[in-house]
Subunit: 324 residues, 2 copies
């Protein structure tokens, strides 16, 4: 990846949902060539482009370079995987088809363990992990609503989750995001960054689904808030046991931020309401497995995971009845 | 309480729901004088009597001796408190008004700690605790639907939950129930009996509400079933820590019984769906407090309690909006 005097780095965005749509649009608006890999929305994106409604200013990108199922874009400098963290092994062929010898892959997803299936399918490719701290939803095909926040953290992935330090590729992606007006931070230890995000995701994603409540109802109720804290404490302790401690005040700060935030339905709640699959492996099963291996108990997280799995099984059972 | 050659013991049933209605009707059908203390249903019961639909045979009792709000029945030999276990301190005056010098009080309710508020309000009165293992619901005023099971356990209450042995009063009430065709068992240790019932109530009452699922869906799903077992194990361990161990195979047998049982909505689910208050103190808060005092951790039970409390708070909040 060259110095900044060279032409702007090209990006391929795989997955044009709230997250991929938002950051891809910002990068495109900042002058980066952006290609879009979409599934069901490919036709709509070609015809109508992409609209982003945002408190920072709306965007409408027309004449998008869109690749639908079975179509591979030419290799980009950076490929951003912004699909749901559901089954990265199954999307590895799509990612591989978009990757050239010098391409850097950025896995911009929630949860733990999301990079490994892609890194294994792409030997020799530099893989970064990234997380977005953003309230953004796909309101429809080619329609992104950005509500609040937008910061991104980026770190170099390494096998076994060991800290890889801030590599040149991380610096370059962070610089591109910053140049597009997105606050971006380089992570010395990607895995610690992932655990830090789990401190928020584990309580709020799951409880919003099980209790059918947005974030403000959860932090505004004394019982639910205490349960949020219990879950945050379990994640914090598990992160430390796994060798990736998060800053001591992480839980308290996230709670305060969430209280200051507008009423928000976390992505898992949006997925559940839309009867889509939930990111249970990345946000619950993988952290629980890592914690168990490190000897850390997460009984309340495990219980919440079981409740979510029950709801997900029931949804799939009903879907199964619908499509015999 | 006299020998069985004397006239049949008289009963006053306080609370004519599924439980009070069913057992009161069986006792009346067996020849016991029964008086009924009701609130909103008093007029209906006077006019139309009480109907019980049951696989054991239907009953219709007419010309009931009904006492409404502010009306006290003459003292009976036995007063059965069969209201919801919501706030026994607040119903103590109603119970006291129905009690004479020789009356025995039977607290036929779920949960832990339900006898103490009544015993404190009735110094010198013998207080028994009882639990019903029954699927029965009040389908409407004066309408009881008995679906399955009906066994009752009865034990002598003593301060601090210590085992009081099988007293004469326990023997008499067990004999009356058996004479009415109800399988009844005397408990040496009432508190152990209460913990044993909690092994079922803690998982199934709470999860049926939070996951909006009847018992068969819960035991039929691998994730929910594992969570049921986790909760059963917590209750079993807490019972032992509190000095009231339940038989070792309690959880396994209850799970097997529940699998063999028809699809069933536990009472808390019925209450929640009807937007009525939940028995959270008796079934969750009191066992959690007892376990905490005994040094037993119940993290998953505490989490489930917090979820239920959140739902109950929300219900009351909405009710509050409705009645400004």
């Amino acid at each position: 990846m060259g110095p900044s005097a060279e032409p702007p780095r090209s990006y391929t965005i795989i997955g044009v949902g709230g997250v991929g749509g938002y950051y891809g649009a910002r990068l495109a608006a900042a002058g980066h060539p952006v290609r879009w890999v979409a599934r069901s929305d490919a036709g709509h994106l070609r015809r109508h482009g992409l609209r982003v409604r945002s408190p920072k200013g709306d965007l409408h990108l027309a004449d998008l370079d869109v690749y639908g199922p079975g179509e591979a874009p030419p290799p980009a400098d950076v490929v951003v995987v912004a699909t749901k963290a559901l089954d990265n092994a199954s999307i590895a062929p799509t990612v591989a088809a978009a990757v050239g010898p010098a391409t850097v892959v950025v896995v911009l997803q929630n949860g733990l363990g999301v990079e490994a299936p892609l890194a294994e399918a792409l030997p020799g490719t530099v893989v970064l992990g990234a997380m977005s701290f953003i309230c953004a939803v796909k309101a429809g095909p080619g329609e992104v609503h950005h509500l609040d926040y937008e910061a991104v953290t980026v770190g170099r992935w390494a096998p076994d989750g060991r800290a890889a330090g801030v590599s040149d590729e991380v610096v370059a992606v962070v610089a591109d995001l910053a140049g597009a007006g997105v606050p971006a931070e380089a992570l010395e230890d990607l895995e610690a960054g992932r655990w830090r995000k789990l401190v928020w995701n584990v309580p709020f994603n799951g409880l919003s689904v099980v209790l059918d409540a947005p974030t403000d109802r959860l932090v505004g109720d004394p019982s639910a808030r205490e349960l949020v804290v219990t879950l945050m404490d379990e994640v914090t302790a598990a992160a430390a046991a796994c060798g990736h401690p998060v800053p001591e005040d992480t839980a308290a700060r996230m709670l305060a931020n969430t209280e200051a935030m507008t009423s928000y339905a976390p992505s898992m709640k949006v997925d559940h309401d839309a009867r889509r699959p939930l990111e249970l492996d990345a946000i619950y099963a993988a952290p629980l497995a890592a914690a168990a291996e490190a000897g850390a108990a997460m009984p309340v997280t495990a219980a919440l995971h079981a409740q979510l799995a029950f709801l997900d099984h029931r949804r799939r059972g009903v879907d199964g009845e619908r499509t015999p």
